[in-house]
């Protein structure tokens, strides 16, 4: 996954944020590419009126910049993305797996797969974002 260019990770994050099933969850890492800033969503509620709790004190909330994206290189953020996919599909047992050189998201019930838009970006995160985009 580390072979994926940084710009592709940013694009993947933007696509995820645009999904109807998207929301910020505690534990997610946020990056702001314009100024190389990073935050960690620390507490519930993860987001209120465009602000996120980034820890430090009860008052340590920050207005979420419009250009902030999730960092899917981060394992905690990836775990949250999987939770969002399961929620969006209402399938708590859905999950990604690697087979024949490709990441796929597989449901044992419906046997569905989601095409990864960018074949070069063949990552677990890309498969999960594709699944989130395809959610009903």
């Amino acid at each position: 996954m580390t072979d994926t260019p940084y710009i592709d990770w940013l694009e993947l994050g933007r696509r995820a944020v645009a999904c109807r099933g998207w929301r910020w969850m505690p534990g997610m890492r946020q990056v702001r590419p314009c100024c190389d800033e990073a935050f960690r969503v620390c507490d519930e509620p993860a987001s209120v009126d465009g602000h996120v709790h980034v820890g430090g004190s009860p008052y340590d909330w920050t207005l979420l910049p419009s250009d902030v994206v999730p960092d899917f290189r981060d394992p905690a953020t990836l775990g949250c993305l999987l939770a969002l996919v399961r929620e969006a599909w209402d399938m708590p047992r859905i999950g990604p797996f690697f087979s024949d050189g490709r990441w796929r998201v597989h449901s044992p019930i419906l046997n569905i797969g989601f095409p990864i838009r960018d074949r070069k970006n063949n990552t677990e995160a890309a498969a999960l974002v594709a699944a989130l985009e395809a959610a009903p």
Partner: protein, 125 residues
Amino acid sequence: MTDQEWIELGQRAVACRAWRWLPGMLAYRPGGIWEWRRHSVAKWCDSLGVRRSIPDVAVPDLGDPATVGCLLALVREAWGAPHKSVRHDDDHAVSGRPWVVWCPPRWVRADTEAAALVAALESAP
């Protein structure tokens, strides 16, 4: 799973040789009310502020999606297998242990996703 079973599962995870706290993980003290989120490599945060450490008895909250994502990362690291994943096998749902992880030369099975990952971490070489 009962609260006690979640605590014991967390204790098994922490006892693994390959265990470490990763940024994003959620920890709690068994029987307590406080939770701490690993903010960065050297920092934890809770609703009151930032701290450098948490109690030694703290265990990971393996019901937290971010923490489970980190646990999967530890399993992959311990096995040197970046493509390893945990799957639900409906064919074994009746056995009560449908969550599986391939840990050569066998499948590790458990009743929950988190328990399968902990078992995979325990059996890492």
